[in-house]
């Protein structure tokens, strides 16, 4: 593998982690909003309790992604930065409102009602905006040169692939969040809430699959080159489908508890499914970052810098992994936290 390919693989890994963590984070925000209005307030409480300690860490992953892109592919960072200034600015504003209200609500109950609404609605808008950048990067909806670089908004909004991508992004987000929250409620020994989230996962799973297929088909007229590449790595998508089936089926396996299903197993397989599918998508994207103007070779950083960045990530991870283990133990495992009354 050449250096640019190693670098893009690392970017893919960060993107993958952020996509998962972000989906769960934003999805939990949505579910917390959805269930405050219903009788089922416990479902909302569980979603909120998961959210409180996790959003900061999720946010750092977003920054990590941006910084990694600047370091490994400075050409791409400046190119994307110029073109995507509007969508990214909106994401920044929404993220800021969401993040600050998270803290306001923690300090004063007065804000908790408003927070639930804000984190619920931004929980849908932010992922939708982020996912919308995907079809832009492959469809050539951009105008470059003549002193100004910009997006061709009219053509983007007229293209069905934008909407199938957004639908796919949102259903994935809610599906993943439901799965994780069902696991989290099981861990907290709250079977009633477990059932609520399991039910959501049951109908969202097939919806996600449908959107995935639709997104691929609507891609054909916009980016035939990419669909051709996808055919070459068909086995990744086939394995991904297999993982989906296993993960979905795990929701029906007897568990020895009151209710059927093994959410932990299900989460693991769906994450694998997502990983395989996004790997396939990533491979098919190569060698372009932005079709047809920018390839990973054009955008690559200086080779010396590349080597030192690798060293930096190695050392940093060696220090951070232990810190994460402590974090995980305190919040995801400790019964005193999971079952706390408030």
């Amino acid at each position: 593998m050449t250096d640019p390919y190693i670098a893009i693989t690392i970017i893919w890994a960060f993107l993958f982690v952020y996509a998962i963590a972000g989906s769960i984070d934003f999805g939990a925000g949505f579910w917390a909003m959805y269930y405050t209005r219903k009788e089922n307030t416990e479902a909302s409480v569980i979603a909120n309790r998961y959210l409180s300690p996790s959003w900061e860490v999720t946010n750092v992953f977003l920054v990590l992604l941006v910084v990694a892109l600047v370091g490994f592919f400075p050409g791409a960072a400046s190119y994307l930065g110029t073109l995507m200034i509007l969508p990214f600015s909106f994401v920044l504003i929404l993220l800021t409102i969401r993040g600050t209200f998270m803290v306001y609500a923690y300090s004063s109950k007065k804000y908790s009602r408003m927070l639930t609404i804000i984190s619920g609605t931004t929980g849908l808008f932010i992922p939708a905006l982020l996912v919308a950048t995907l079809p832009i990067a492959i469809g050539g909806f951009v105008s470059i040169g003549e002193g100004r670089d910009y997006l061709l908004f009219n053509e983007i909004f007229a293209s069905p692939t934008l909407y199938t991508h957004i639908g796919f992004g949102l259903s994935t987000e809610l599906f993943l969040a439901s799965l994780l929250l069902s696991d989290y409620s099981r861990e907290a020994q709250n079977e009633k809430t477990y059932l609520v989230y399991r039910k959501n996962a049951l109908w969202l799973g097939p919806v996600t699959l449908l959107f995935a297929v639709a997104a691929t088909f609507t891609l054909l007229p916009e980016a035939g080159w990419m669909v051709e590449n996808m055919m070459n790595v068909w086995y990744l998508f086939a394995f991904s489908l297999l993982a989906f089936i296993i993960g979905y089926a795990a929701l029906f396996i007897p568990s020895g508890k009151e209710n059927p299903g093994r959410p932990r197993l299900s989460v693991i397989f769906i994450v694998i499914q997502f990983g395989l599918a996004s790997l396939g998508y990533g491979f098919s994207h190569m060698p372009y970052i932005l079709y047809p103007d920018l390839t990973i070779q054009d955008a690559f950083t200086d080779p010396t810098m590349f080597r030192w960045l690798l060293v930096g990530y190695g050392v940093g991870l060696a220090i951070l992994v232990p810190a994460f283990v402590v974090f995980w133990r305190l919040f995801m495992k400790d019964k005193r936290y999971l079952q706390a009354e408030k």
């Binding site: 860490v57 941006v66 400046s78 110029t82 803290v103 951070l320 936290y337």
Partner: protein, 443 residues
């Protein structure tokens, strides 16, 4: 309006917003650490209450620091794509390592805040220490990138291309040490004086129980001690920072001082307005020979003036005022903190007189003003360069348009958040007064 100017305004105001929360994030974590350690040594639970309350305030500030930092971090690529294209090749390392500092801070902050009841005393001190370390490290690392913009090193420009990149030479560029130390010490100053302000404000009230009075006195004393030490250090190190400008960025020093003619025995001009027509500072106080002496260590030292440089490379001349405000604040806070501490230790039984308290109330806002003017001076004083001598701001800026609209949007966001954050803090501390916590402590 000119797009480059709009980009500068948008970025500058975003930084000015972020820096309020970021600086306090660095400064207040140090104060929390000091309170936790003092509690462990003195076995006095007042310090425990302090640590807890400051952490409450800090958690809110951090909640704004993180998203606003995310904004400026992403905005660098959105507004200054040309600059980031060079940063990615030459000085990406501090940006990258900074992420790990953020992780460290965020993770241990969650642990300290959400799991405090499950931690032993020493584990609590270790977690705050790691939070403080993470916060300070983020300041150090980002300042490294800033110092590099003043004294860029670690690459060659061959035919307009960046070649022969030497990342470590970029990291250890000549101005990094003085600049980093200056930024960290002033952040600690700001944290300490903001807390001193609040304590002094509370002590001015007439109706205070004995235990509340004792509590606020202790808070005032430790914040003044930290504030005094950091001010003293800042003055010494600020002098070194000016010498760094003398050596590496003479045009910035000339603009800071409003010096037009290259000369030995150069005077130090305090306040006044530099007038390019007359080639001198109008309406200020001049101390003959002082600038030469400060910059080079002798009144014979020759200091370069603005006229040595083509006018298109002059920074805006109002930076002279920003510089004066920063330095003026530095010396005022130095005098103020030492004066108040002197009174406190010479008359240990007497309360500080009201007028001293009233002056102390201004110390926090002054320190923040020092931070803002200092940064704006430093960034604007570098104009028209973004990377000194290598890249002009106009070459760094985006060409995508729409900036006026975005500027309005972001300014609205910042104003709203400033108001809301103040309200949240006010409500929180209003509904949970320290008197309540002190009572709970005794039972």
């Amino acid at each position: 309006m000119d797009e480059v100017l709009l980009a500068r305004m948008l970025f500058g105001s975003s930084m000015a917003f972020h820096i309020i929360f970021a600086t306090l994030g660095v400064g207040i974590t140090l104060m929390i650490l000091v309170a936790e350690i003092t509690r462990a040594i003195k076995k006095d639970d007042h310090y425990g209450v302090m640590a807890k309350r400051w952490t409450k305030g800090f958690a809110v500030l951090l909640g704004v620091a993180i998203p606003s930092g995310t904004i400026v971090g992403v905005m660098l690529s959105l507004l200054w794509p040309g600059y980031m294209a060079i940063v990615g090749r030459v000085i990406a390392l501090p940006f990258q390592v900074e992420i790990f500092a953020f992780f460290l801070e965020a993770v241990f902050m969650s642990i300290y805040v959400y799991a405090a009841d499950r931690l032993s005393n020493s584990m609590r001190i270790v977690s705050v220490a790691l939070v403080a370390l993470g916060a300070t490290a983020s300041a150090v690392l980002i300042t490294d990138a800033h110092a590099w913009m003043n004294t860029p090193r670690g690459f060659d420009v061959v035919n307009g291309e960046i070649m022969n990149v030497r990342p470590w030479e970029a990291v250890f560029n000549p101005s990094v040490y003085v600049t980093v130390l200056h930024v960290v010490s002033t952040a600690y100053m700001a944290g300490a004086f903001v807390i001193a302000s609040i304590a002094a404000f509370k002590l001015m009230k007439n109706k205070l129980s004995d235990s509340e009075r004792a509590y606020h006195r202790k808070g005032l004393t430790i914040s003044l001690i930290i504030g005094a030490v950091m001010s003293l250090y800042t003055a010494v190190n600020g002098h070194d920072t000016a010498k760094m400008l003398y050596e590496y960025l003479p045009v910035k020093l000339a603009a800071a001082e409003g010096l037009f003619e290259t000369q030995d025995n150069a005077p130090l001009a305090i306040f006044g307005i530099p007038d390019p027509e007359r080639g001198e500072v109008v309406g200020g106080i001049e101390i003959p020979g002082m600038l030469s002496w400060l910059a080079s260590g002798s009144t014979d030292g020759v200091v370069q003036g603005l006229n040595d440089f083509p006018e298109e490379y002059w920074p805006p001349l109002f930076v002279h005022t920003l510089f004066n405000i920063m330095v003026g604040i530095g010396f005022s806070l130095l005098g103020l903190s030492f004066g108040a501490l002197f009174y406190r230790f010479v008359f240990p039984r007497k309360a500080l007189p009201k007028w001293i308290l009233a002056v102390l109330v201004t110390s926090g806002p002054l320190a923040m003003l020092g931070i803002e003017t200092g940064w704006i001076f430093s960034c604007t004083g570098r104009q028209p360069w973004t990377i000194y001598g290598v890249q002009l701001t106009s070459e760094a800026a985006t060409n995508s348009g729409n900036l006026g609209f975005l500027f309005a949007l972001f300014i609205t966001l910042y104003v709203t958040l400033l108001v809301l954050t103040s309200l949240v803090l006010k409500f929180y501390f209003g509904r949970n007064p320290v008197s309540k916590e002190l009572e709970n402590m005794n039972v």
